[in-house]
Amino acid sequence: MKILYFAWLRERLNRGEEEVSPPPEVRTVNDLMDWMASNDEGFALAFARRSLIRGALDENIVDHDTPLEGAGTVAFFPPMTGG
């Protein structure tokens, strides 16, 4: 599974993407964030305020409780500020 990071999340983590292989008990977007945070202090800090994090699965914006269901790409990013 590929994870993408954007904007200040990307800067804080110091990477724009990475490959991860979460265990089967990681079922939802929230589970994925918990699992990443438990393995990586930098991730835990950057993702401390979950209300500021938005997620997308295979180019669809989703809520945090959405099941991953074999998604190939997960993206995390802050609230959007385009236009």
């Binding site: 180019e59 914006i61 990013f77 959007m80």
Partner: protein, 152 residues
């Protein structure tokens, strides 16, 4: 499908884009163009602005907003242009153009698209000022503007 979405790094000319959009029709009565421009205020001058984006998601989100607007308001055509990368005060960032037989539909369609674009299209602004750089914060009022469209 009369919907066009263009993501590009290059500057565009809002007047030329308006002309191109209008030249494609003779049967519709009302066209609305919204142009968003990089601002610089006297009390906090912006030197430049950099827009990061998530290309595939940006394309699909903007196409989705255009399609929803077309159906909801009865638009005949929609064009959205959004830039990414580095830009300077006075330059256009975004342009949304709607065409309809009736002016209310053209106005409502353009507003609808802009309200969703502000909160749900994956672009992130970073401002360069004399004091350094900062990520622009999302604005509560943009969330509220989008929320209006969800009421029955």
């Amino acid at each position: 499908m009369p919907i066009k979405v263009r993501l590009q790094e290059e500057k565009f000319d809002p007047g030329n884009e308006t002309s191109r959009f209008l030249d494609e029709t003779t049967s519709d009565g009302a066209a609305v163009t919204f142009t968003g421009i990089v601002r610089s205020q006297k009390d906090k001058p912006v030197i430049s602005m950099t827009l990061e984006h998530y290309p595939a998601l940006a394309q699909s989100q903007l196409e989705g907003f255009a399609l929803k607007a077309e159906r909801r308001f009865g638009l005949s055509r929609v064009t959205i242009i959004h830039r990414h990368g580095k830009m300077f005060p006075g330059e256009p960032i975004v342009q949304v153009m709607t065409m309809s037989p009736h002016r209310h539909a053209a106005f409502e369609g353009a507003r609808f698209i802009m309200d969703f674009l502000k909160t749900d299209a994956p672009f992130w602004k970073k401002e360069q000022t004399a004091d350094g750089t900062r990520w622009v914060s999302a604005r509560q009022e943009d969330d509220e503007a989008r929320q209006r469209w969800k009421q029955p």
